[in-house]
Amino acid sequence: MKQTSSRLTTQRMTRLALLAAAAVVLGYMDGILSAAMLLPTGVKLGLANTVLLYSIYLLGPGYSVLLMILKVVLTGFMSGNLASAFLYSMGGGALSLVMMLLVKALGRGSISIVGVSVVGAVFHNIGQLLVAALILRTPALMFYIFILMIAAVITGTLTGIAGRQIVRVLKIPGSADPFREEGGGNK
């Protein structure tokens, strides 16, 4: 059934734990892959965002916020540099999630998961750079955002398409169609 009650049942807790673990691992792989592909600094595939897309579409906003916080905190512990890494990814994660939820709600089905993903990717970069500019006190850093935005469009589209397939394949049995708002219109 739909997530009408906000009570944290064992099933939900397990699901959340699994997703958080997947997000952390994907985020870690992301860093390795991006380095291996010689992507410029700050450009990442954003694989972990597929997990967040999954939770936005299948579990709702509450879960997604919890998941984002879990991912940020766990990644922060792993990096060994809790304070700054935490602030960077929190800035990116929070802004990204808020904008994705907003776009999905406002889009009312006229914006697909790919659009939501692109918005998430773009605002993840914006959030991180905002925090970086605040911490390092160098507003000049913000010019880099335009390069990152172009990269985010590409990576966001890719992860959005991947996310759509994941949501389709890993649909929770008995839950409502995650793409019901997008309707059956095939044009």
């Binding site: 697909s112 790919v114 659009g115 773009v122 010019f143 955002i145 335009f146 935005m149 172009i150 095939n186």
Partner: protein, 132 residues
């Protein structure tokens, strides 16, 4: 799902979002590129002999005439952030050949941030105010 094949990869609004983001990014990059040099107040000092004849900002295009009488005339031109000797009444024309100085190229020039016309005693010095 059955409609798997029929559904397009992206909806119209998705493409719109992508378009807007790309537009903002390109506009932003262009803005950074074109606005940054003009906000910096680089200027040039034009000397005649030992004293400063005039100080000119590099962000507005103009031609400065330095007329010392007796047919000794130099024209210094400011164009798109570069300053150079456009023409000179001197015999050797070395000052004209010295070319343009800009905030970017002066480190590669032999005379760095100077254009010198020895016969007419006209010199141009680029002054960088970036790191103010």
């Amino acid at each position: 799902m059955a409609e798997n094949e029929k559904k397009p990869l992206m909806k119209k609004r998705d493409v719109l979002i992508v378009g807007i983001v790309l537009l903002v990014a390109v506009a932003g990059m262009l803005a950074v590129k074109f606005l940054t040099p003009s906000t910096a107040t680089n200027y040039a000092k034009i000397y005649v002999g030992n004293y400063v004849y005039k100080e000119v900002p590099l962000n507005e295009n103009q031609v400065i005439e330095i007329n010392q009488g007796s047919d000794i005339v130099n024209h210094v031109e400011v164009k798109d952030g570069a300053i150079y000797m456009a023409d000179s009444s001197c015999p050797d024309q070395q000052c004209v050949d010295q070319g343009k100085i800009t905030a970017k190229n002066y480190e590669q020039r032999a005379l760095r941030n100077w254009v010198v016309c020895l016969p007419n005693q006209v010199t141009v010095e680029l002054v960088l105010e970036d790191e103010g």
